[in-house]
């Protein structure tokens, strides 16, 4: 029975991990190419959840409308990311890193309040689509069908991403930019388009993960700052800008949180920050990252 319990704990950690990977991968991608830690990434995630709820409300009677709503939310956030990058963010590229950081923080403040104005401060919830309603028994532990679906999707996105990074010319550009963006620019690559593209993809991922989390977590104001800190921890553990590092970081975070609650119930939050501090002290560039030049 102990084994079953531990396994169900492991599964819950894995679910947390996949959601976090979906959020953190976009954050890490932007950091790898633009060298900016995007505080607004968590806000994009929150807005994705709200947009999914809104689309569901418009499509009210059709429960399977969730899939459409998730896609619409992700697309909406991608458009938002495009507008933000094109109209504002790009004018700060030449300026100090600190100003770019503060810009993304200003977005957190503005968009967070905008969400409050539009959707109020109460909790909103989205029901699970009936097609993945049931749950599966794995070694005696229950795994809801929806969580299984998200896990499969998460792994699929991870592999798809990796293939794009390794095999396509866009992926090569992204990897080159992460290594040396001045050189990439002087070799004649259109860095401006690349930056916009990366920002849009990252926003899409944030919006998608927000939409996907909405059936299992209540949508509330403040979920943006909560997730962004978690995503920071994940990318720091794995290595800022490292793709598989983010994946590994999310897996570790999920398990530390899930088992940390068992061992020190009162200090589970403490344990993840302690892990982050230890990694930064021992290996600042993360488990799978490369030292910045």
């Amino acid at each position: 029975m102990a084994a079953e319990f531990l396994f169900s704990q492991f599964l819950s950690g894995l679910t947390t991990a996949i959601f976090l990977f979906l959020v953190a991968s976009g954050l890490s991608l932007v950091f790898g190419v633009l060298r900016v830690l995007n505080f607004a990434h968590g806000t994009f995630y929150m807005l994705g959840a709200y947009l999914a709820w809104q689309t569901m409300a418009w499509l009210a009677p059709t429960k399977e409308g969730f899939w459409l709503a998730a896609l619409a939310a992700a697309t909406g956030i991608a458009i938002l990311g495009f507008v933000v990058e094109r109209l504002m963010f790009r004018h700060l590229y030449g300026k100090e890193e600190l100003y770019q950081l503060l810009f993304t923080y200003a977005l957190v403040l503005i968009l967070g309040d905008a969400a409050k104005i539009l959707w109020g401060t109460g909790q909103l919830s989205v029901s699970r689509p009936p097609s993945v309603e049931g749950s599966l028994s794995v070694f005696g532990a229950l795994l809801p069908g929806y969580n299984l679906f998200v896990m499969v999707l998460g792994f699929a996105i991870a592999i798809g991403f990796w293939v794009i990074l390794q095999r396509t010319s866009a992926g090569r550009m992204i990897r080159a930019a992460a290594m040396d963006r001045e050189m990439l620019g002087s070799l004649g690559a259109n860095v401006g388009v690349l930056y916009t593209g990366v920002f849009v993809v990252s926003s899409f991922l944030a919006g998608l993960s927000g939409a996907l989390v909405s059936p299992i977590k209540a949508i509330v104001p403040g979920m943006d700052v909560e997730i962004i800190v978690e995503a920071f921890i994940v990318v720091v553990i794995g290595g800022l800008g490292s793709f598989w590092g983010t994946f590994l970081g999310a897996l570790i975070y999920g398990q530390v949180l899930s088992f940390g609650i068992l061992i020190f119930p009162r200090f589970s939050i403490f344990s993840v920050f302690a892990l982050m501090a230890v990694i930064l002290i021992v290996r600042p560039w993360g488990l799978l990252g490369r030292p910045l030049k």
């Binding site: 600190l98 923080y105 403040l109 800022l240 939050i269 501090a277 600042p284």
Partner: protein, 325 residues
């Protein structure tokens, strides 16, 4: 030329006039401004002077508040002694945490300061026996300051005014010390490190040791500010150290102008006054603050003081005929 004006004295004298307006509200605002000014000026020793972007300065503010609050409430330690402890304890913590932080650069430095601050926050938030957990510590006693009323000319003021006088004197004293540190050879070397750490180490400066010293000093003064704030607020809560508080002090400093010694004070005045004014009309203060931040980043990257300075230079240029026109 402006160095001839003893700004510290001017600010002290101006600040001391506030209670004569006789408004409880003005004194309340001014006390908050005085206390948070010290927090921001201490932060700027890192940001503006040394070029270190800390995301965890609130930890030291909160540690000072807890130390002084607990000493005064549980052990009846006299105010000034408790305040001293509220500076020394955070300075010691900053010394230990800083030892690890200054080994890292840029975003990694910032992330580690954030991690340490969140660790301290998580402990204070959940250690119910000592810190009161999420309930915090309330009913921190006011220091015994009745003797201020016995000073000729200062009779007839309220307790809040007495505390304000004490705060202004203590804060200005601390800011004066920070100013002396910034202007000292030690401070000049910190600026050299900000401008070019490699060159600083080539001329024989132990960069990490200097950065660590700045980190500990800044942490100590942030602690004094937090200690005063805990008394002013009549309570200490874990929120004092949560990361948005660290973002707030960063924004105040940038808002005022991190390249000016008095910039953080200007930023604090602007932030506290605007906050009071705007929250009386609308609950959407973050929206307003975010918009101000955007305007600042795109139009006035030098902050309030930078804009004033540029304006003053233009005026002077026009008066003398303006060679560059």
């Amino acid at each position: 030329m402006s160095r001839r004006i003893p700004w510290t004295l001017v600010v002290l004298l101006l600040a001391l006039t506030i209670p004569w307006f006789g408004s409880r509200y003005y004194t309340f605002l001014a006390t908050q401004i005085a206390i948070l000014s010290l927090f921001a000026v201490s932060y700027n020793l890192l940001l503006g002077t040394t070029g270190l972007v800390s995301f965890g300065h609130a930890a030291y503010f909160g540690l000072g508040a807890y130390a002084t609050g607990l000493l005064m409430k549980e052990l009846n330690v006299p105010f000034l002694l408790a305040l001293l402890a509220g500076g020394l304890l955070p300075a010691a913590f900053a010394g230990v945490f800083g030892y690890f932080c200054v080994r890292l650069t840029k975003i990694y430095f910032s992330m580690l300061t954030l991690a340490f601050a969140q660790i301290v926050w998580a402990i204070c938030f959940q250690w119910n026996e000592v810190t009161g957990g999420d309930q915090g510590i309330s009913a921190i006693p006011y220091p015994e300051l009745g003797w201020i009323g016995a000073i000729p000319g200062l009779g007839g003021f309220r307790t809040g005014d007495h505390f304000y006088f004490a705060c202004v004197v203590l804060v200005i004293l601390c800011i004066w010390v920070l100013g002396r540190i910034t202007d000292s050879p030690f401070g000049r070397l910190l600026t050299t490190i900000r401008e070019n750490p490699e060159r600083a180490s080539f001329i024989g400066v132990d960069v990490r040791r200097y950065e660590l010293a700045a980190f500990a000093i800044a942490g100590g003064f942030a602690g004094v500010s937090g200690a005063l704030f805990g008394i002013f607020n009549r309570g200490v809560f874990a929120d004092f150290m949560f990361w948005p508080k660290s973002a707030e002090v960063l924004i105040m400093t940038i808002l005022g102008g991190m390249n000016y010694f008095w910039g953080p004070v200007a930023g604090t005045i602007m932030m506290v006054v605007l906050n009071q004014q705007i929250t009386s009309y609308t609950e959407y203060w973050p929206l307003v603050l975010g918009t101000i931040l955007l305007v600042l980043l795109f139009a006035f990257p030098g902050g309030l003081m930078g804009a004033l300075d540029a304006g003053a230079k233009r005026l002077r240029g026009q008066k003398t005929g303006g060679g560059d026109a």
